[in-house]
């Protein structure tokens, strides 16, 4: 049996999800366009609406505040660019860090070319932005703050309540966008109580399907749509919605939320075991101590990232080197560099990312495999 420790890249869809999708795709009256006026359209619309209802209740927000997109990147692009474009008088400054996902960084760099001032707050070894620097940077001219809830490479968790407090103190009009792609289903998320104005999510990271993303826009916040056309979703995101992708997401989110706290403490235990055993082998742990336990970034002495990845792959253990989306460029991770981790260490970095379905036995198997790899392949 193979061992999948690359859940931050993508996850295996739940069997329930696969069943639901199969039934939806093969049904006689479940394929309608939610915009159609006939019965099939009504059924599809009802299905879609039920999913939105369920998702909004799981995320503690209003149904109208949710927009279905095609992926996390689309949600992030829409939030960042759409907000500042729609609100030109909100200010010309955007605050972020250099450890964001590329979907954010590329949006910001495009805005910079348009004349916006992007202020990147430095992060520490713990992956968290320097709050004093943030307080100094945040001014009347700041339109938007965009941060990642849980970093995809290091697992470090954003000190969100502190950031919200700083925003409230310095400039209540500045909006906050939170990239929740990695935290969804792993940390409790209650949008109405978090103090954020926009948040982005992705389906395939929570055992739902690729091709589905979600964008939360708090009531009253105005955002320019990225995709225009038939005016679906109140004109916020045109394009025919996919009821089965939405219901797959709703179901997967429900399953992930059920025992979220229990899973989190179980995973903390497992991660502690795994990282402790790795340290005994001389492996350096790069993820901060208080990181989300589902992500563990480590550096293997004597093994370049890709070599270790393939050594583990040979034993059917799947991990990542840097964020899978950018793994074709042969540079060390910009996230780790930004955290102040030396190149020599970062070039050997491997990310293990877990799901609630991973077990201690799998971790033990991986540890044994690593010992064998050192014996056989160390050069």
């Amino acid at each position: 049996m193979s061992i999948y420790f690359d859940n931050s890249a993508t996850t295996k869809p739940l069997p329930e999800v696969a069943r639901l999708v199969f039934e939806s795709l093969s049904g006689e009256d479940t394929f309608g366009n939610p915009g159609s006026l006939h019965r099939l359209g009504v059924l599809a619309e009802r299905d879609l609406s039920a999913s939105a209802e369920k998702i909004s209740s799981l995320l503690s927000c209003k149904k109208e505040e949710l927009i279905f997109t095609s992926c996390g990147s689309e949600s992030v692009n829409t939030a960042i660019m759409g907000y500042v474009h729609q609100n030109p008088r909100a200010g010309k400054k955007i605050i972020s860090t250099r450890t964001e996902h590329k979907a954010s960084l590329e949006s910001l760099s495009r805005l910079e070319k348009e004349g916006y001032e992007i202020c990147y707050i430095p992060v520490g070894l713990d992956g968290k932005p320097d709050l004093t620097a943030l307080e100094n940077a945040l001014d009347e001219n700041t339109a938007l703050l965009t941060f990642t809830h849980v970093n995809n490479e290091s697992g470090s968790i954003l000190p969100l309540s502190e950031i919200v407090a700083i925003r409230n103190k310095k400039n209540r009009n500045a909006k906050i966008h939170l990239d929740c792609v990695q935290s969804l289903g792993k940390l409790p998320i209650a949008l109405s109580r978090m103090g954020v104005d926009m948040a982005s999510f992705s389906g395939h990271k929570i055992h739902a399907l690729k091709g589905f993303g979600l964008l939360y826009i708090k009531s009253g916040v105005r955002v320019q749509p990225l995709i225009i056309g038939g005016g679906q979703q109140g004109g916020m995101r045109s394009g025919t919605q996919s009821p089965y992708l939405a219901s797959a997401f709703a179901l997967a989110l429900e399953k992930a939320t059920e025992k979220i706290e229990e899973n989190l403490s179980k995973m903390t235990e497992l991660r502690d075991f795994f990282s402790c055993e790795l340290e005994k082998k001389g492996v350096s742990i790069l993820s901060p101590k208080d990181a989300l336990p589902y992500v563990l970034n480590v550096s293997f002495p004597h093994f370049q990232s890709e070599t270790m990845l393939h050594c583990l792959e040979e034993k059917e253990i799947y991990v990542s080197t840097v964020s899978a989306c950018s793994s074709k460029t042969k540079a060390v991770s910009y996230v780790l560099s930004e955290m102040g981790i030396k190149r020599e260490i970062a070039k050997n970095a491997v990310r293990f990312s877990f799901s609630r379905f991973n077990t201690k036995e799998e971790m033990q198997t991986a540890l044994d495999a690593i010992s064998m790899i050192y014996e056989k392949y160390m050069v």
Partner: protein, 406 residues
Amino acid sequence: MSHSYRTIILARMGEIALKGLNRGKFERQLMDNMRWRLKEFGAFTIVQSQSRIWIEPKESNADLLEDQEVAQQVLKAVTQVFGLVSASLVRRFSGDMEDIKKQSVQLTDDILSEHDYKTFKVESKRGNKRFPLASPEICVDVGEAILIAHPELTVDVHEPDFIIYVEVREDLYVYSEKLEGHRGLPVGTAGKGMLLLSGGIDSPVAGYMMASRGMQLEAIYFHSYPYTSERALEKVKDLAKIVSQYSGTILLHVCNFTDIQLNLYKNSPQDMLTITMRRVMFEIAEELANKQGCKCLITGESLGQVASQTIEAIQITNEVVKTMPVFRPLIGLDKEETCNISRRIGAFETSILPYEDCCTVFVAKHPKTHPQKKHIIEAEEKLDIPALVKQGVEGIETYKIERTSK
């Protein structure tokens, strides 16, 4: 068909024309290769006449070349067959001087709709001596017709922006652009060679260059999984596929090199590792080459490019090959020149994809750049080379690589 001509292809032979008594053999091979290369596009009648080849779609797909895009693809494929200087899309029609003028003007219209040209000239060839006008007169008449239709153009006989060629044979022909061919000699006229193919820029170019001298190719790649990835192997297959557009089918032999490499790593000094490794690779390649009926090894080495390509290092790796020459067509080329060829044959973008290949993981910080005989004797003291070679040859998996893209 809305127009009154038929598009065919005219290709011109190069070096073959200089051959003496065995010229026929080269020509036959070229025609065979051409038929093979064009098979995927449709059915063609391919006729050779003097040092030219006329390629015409058969009745079953008579309109094949009337689609501009297809015509360009076929033309490109034609020029990829070694042995040709150039090829052109030619419009064939019948009639008299009036038709020649009409077709020449129409061709000019088509050219000007795509290019912002200002000057032109007309060249003509009259093979059919019964045609009432001589070549210079045809040029003058056609030039005049074009000038009447396009008064904005002027004639420039020295450096025209474009040339209209007119040919009078049994039928009449007009054409303009010539696409340069890859020259060389037809593959299959110079035996078969074993190319040491890595995932880099140089070796595919070396293979291409030997194929351009008429040599058929097989290739060997040394795979060191998990030090190199499955993607690195995919990349090598992609490169072989690109070279095969020119060379024809390539048998790619993938040698599982991991255990051999680890053995070398553990049992020979670090600073000689690249040399001992290359010596074993050469021996494996030579044995395989003999088994496969190849008459030489081919590498992408260029003098002084890296530590293992100093003259001393080359001498010391070369000496293990006892039964055949090792050809290094890039030996005197600058890296930039090699990159240019790589770009021209369409391999560059694939070559520079960044997957680790076996050379990078094991490279010593300070490899010996001027190894001597005594160093290698020392380095190989603890190695059972024949056993390693045997292990290498036995662990080979072979893939048949054929170009699939048009």
